[in-house]
C-alpha cells in the first residue's frame, strides 16, 4: 500500500458524532492512519485512546466500558478513565500495575455535535470561527476514498461554499424548496481516505429533519462518486 502524503495529524480533528457515544459503547475512529478508541465514562467524560492495549496490542475497542474503566478483552487489564493508567492486572491481583502500563491518550472535546480528537498542537477548544448552533442537527458521516485535498476542493465547488479554515466549509444546501446553511468537516483517515462530517448550521424544524437528512445523504453519496472517479482518473489507480 502506498503510504506517501499521509497528512500529519494536527490540531483538533472531528472523529464521530457525539450521539454515537451512548451508554457503554466503545466507538472506533481511524484518523491520520491511527486507530482511536472512543468511550464515554459514567460522568459523561469522553476518552480518546490509541486503540491498542500496551500489554499485547489488543484493540481496546473490543473491550468493555464499565463507566470508570475500560477492560481489555484479552487479559482483562483495566485502564482508568481520564489518565489511561492501568489500575488492575488480573494475573497479579495483589500487585500494583507498573507505571509504564498505560494507554496512550489523546485530548478530546465535544463541540458542534461531534467528538473531536486533539492531535499535536491542539489547544483550547475546537473552533471553526463561525456562529453555528451549539448542538446542531448532524448528518451521517461518510468516508471518501480520496485524499483530503481533493475532497476539500470538491466541497469548495458546492453552492455558496466558504472555507472556514483548512478543514471546515460552510455551504448552502438546497432540498425541495428550502435552502439551508450547513457546515462540512473533513478529516484525513489516511493518504487516500477522508472522512466527511456535516451539520446544519441553523435550526431545522422537527418536520423537516428526516427529509433533509435523506436528501443530504443522497447528495453526499453522489458527490463521493464524482470525486472518487476523478481521483482514480488522476492517479491512474484502478
Amino acid at each position: 500500500m502506498e503510504r506517501t502524503n499521509v497528512p500529519a495529524a494536527d490540531g483538533w480533528v472531528a472523529a464521530v458524532r457525539s450521539a454515537e457515544l451512548v451508554g457503554r459503547h466503545v466507538a472506533i475512529a481511524r484518523l491520520a492512519d491511527t486507530d482511536i478508541a472512543l468511550w464515554r465514562d459514567a460522568d459523561g467524560r469522553v476518552n480518546a485512546w490509541e486503540n491498542r492495549c500496551p500489554h499485547r496490542g489488543m484493540r481496546l475497542s473490543l473491550g468493555s466500558n464499565t463507566g470508570t474503566t475500560l477492560i481489555c478483552r484479552y487479559h482483562g487489564w483495566r485502564f482508568d478513565s481520564g489518565t489511561g493508567a492501568c489500575s488492575f492486572i488480573p494475573a497479579h491481583p495483589r500487585q500494583i500495575a507498573p507505571k509504564a502500563a498505560a494507554v496512550r491518550t489523546y485530548a478530546s472535546a465535544e463541540k458542534y455535535g461531534f467528538v473531536w480528537v486533539g492531535f499535536a498542537k491542539a489547544t483550547g477548544q475546537p473552533d471553526i470561527a463561525d456562529t453555528v448552533p451549539e448542538s446542531p442537527l448532524t448528518f451521517r458521516s461518510l468516508t471518501f476514498h480520496a485524499p483530503l485535498a481533493a475532497v476539500h476542493d470538491a466541497l469548495m465547488h458546492e453552492t455558496g461554499a466558504v472555507a472556514l479554515g483548512a478543514t471546515a466549509i460552510r455551504v448552502q444546501l438546497r432540498f425541495y424548496d428550502t435552502e439551508l446553511s450547513a457546515v462540512y468537516l473533513v478529516a484525513a483517515q489516511s493518504a487516500f481516505a477522508t472522512l466527511v462530517h456535516g451539520f446544519a448550521a441553523e435550526a431545522v424544524p422537527e418536520s423537516a429533519r428526516l427529509p433533509l437528512l435523506r436528501a443530504q445523504a443522497e447528495h453526499l453519496k453522489t458527490l463521493r462518486k464524482t470525486i472518487v472517479a476523478q481521483d482514480y482518473a488522476l492517479t491512474g489507480r484502478a
Partner: protein, 292 residues
C-alpha cells in the same frame, strides 16, 4: 514464480517441515491448493501417493505424511518430523481436530497458546473464569533447543469436552519449533496421565496462518466431542488474535509490556531472537545481548 533467495524465510524455517493439508480434506477433493511462505502449492493424490508441487509448475516439493497431515518442506527438509511416542498408545485418539485460518502471524498464535493468563477472559467457563485469574509462578527451561513451560496447576471450570466438572489441571507447554508447540495437560479421568494437544501453525504469509490442531487424547471421550470442544476453543482465540496490532510478533523487548505472568511469552520471544527467526516477527531494533 522464481523463488528468490532474498524472499525466503530464514533456513531454520525454510528447511523444516510444515503442515500444508489434512489428509482427509485431500481425500475428499483429490487435489487442493495450499499456501506456505507465500508460495502457492498444488497437492494431488494419485492412487496412494501424495504429491506436492509449486502451483505454477516450477517444480516438485518434498512431502511426507504423518498424523493425518500432509507435510512439505520447500528447502532441504533435513530436520526430523516432530514425533510423539504417545501416539502409539492404544487407548488414545490420534485426532486431527481442525484447521482454522487466522489473519495474523503464526508466532502470535504460538504465544497465545502458551499463555494461561487469557483463559478466564477469552475461554470463560471452559479454561478459566473470574475471579480465579491469578497466574501462579511457573518455571521455564530451554533444553534440547526447545522451550519448556511447566506451570503449577490451575482451576478449570471445564477443561475438556467430557470433564466431570471443575478440576485442578496441570499444564506443560513445549515449544518444539518456532511454529510448533505441544501442550501436555492432566486428563480429568486419569489424573496420572496426560492428554496432548499439538498446534502446528502453517505460515501462509507473515500475517496469515492456518492453525492445525492434533489431539492425542485418552479415549474416555468421543472423538466428535473432542473435535467440537477444541474447535470452540480455537474459535474463541481467533477474533482476539485478529485484533492484535501489530499482527507480526514484536521481538523488541520494549515494544510491548510483559508482566511476570508473561514469562513464557517472553522466553519464547527471546528464543526466537536467539535463533534468528524473523518471518512473522518484527525484529528487535538492535541486537540484544543475552546473558546465561
Amino acid at each position: 514464480m522464481l523463488v528468490e533467495a532474498a524472499d525466503r524465510p530464514e533456513s531454520v524455517l525454510w528447511d523444516d517441515w510444515h503442515v500444508v493439508a489434512e489428509i482427509t480434506t485431500l481425500e475428499q477433493f483429490g487435489r487442493m491448493t495450499s499456501t506456505l511462505f507465500e508460495r502457492e502449492l498444488l497437492i494431488t493424490r494419485e492412487d496412494k501417493a501424495v504429491h506436492v508441487a509449486y502451483a505454477d509448475g516450477s517444480g516438485r516439493i518434498a512431502s511426507t505424511l504423518k498424523y493425518g497431515y500432509v507435510w512439505a518442506s520447500l528447502g532441504a527438509g533435513d530436520r526430523e518430523l516432530v514425533d510423539f511416542p504417545e501416539a502409539a498408545e492404544t487407548d488414545r485418539h490420534v485426532l486431527t481436530v481442525g484447521s482454522l485460518g487466522i489473519r495474523t502471524s503464526g508466532l502470535r498464535l504460538v504465544e497465545n497458546f502458551i499463555d494461561v493468563a487469557h483463559f478466564p477472559f477469552v475461554h470463560t467457563g471452559y479454561l478459566g473464569a473470574e475471579p480465579d485469574t491469578e497466574v501462579q509462578p511457573y518455571t521455564i527451561r530451554v533444553s534440547a533447543d526447545e522451550v519448556w513451560v511447566e506451570s503449577g496447576s490451575c482451576t478449570q471450570p471445564m477443561a475438556s469436552a467430557a470433564a466431570p466438572g471443575a478440576a485442578q489441571i496441570g499444564y506443560v507447554f513445549r515449544v518444539l519449533r518456532p511454529y510448533t508447540v505441544v501442550l501436555y495437560k492432566t486428563n480429568t479421568h486419569a489424573p496420572t496421565r496426560q492428554d496432548l494437544l499439538l498446534l502446528m501453525v502453517q505460515p501462509v504469509s507473515q500475517e496469515r496462518c492456518i492453525a492445525h490442531v492434533l489431539a492425542l487424547v485418552l479415549n474416555f471421550e468421543d472423538a466428535r466431542d473432542i473435535r467440537s470442544f477444541q474447535r470452540l476453543i480455537t474459535g474463541q482465540d481467533k477474533p482476539i488474535l485478529e485484533n492484535q496490532r501489530p499482527s507480526r510478533l514484536p521481538l523488541d523487548p520494549r515494544s510491548e509490556l510483559p508482566v511476570r505472568a508473561d514469562a513464557a511469552g517472553t522466553a519464547y520471544r527471546r528464543w526466537l531472537v536467539e535463533r534468528g527467526v524473523s518471518y512473522g516477527a518484527i525484529p528487535p531494533i538492535r541486537a540484544v545481548a543475552f546473558v546465561g
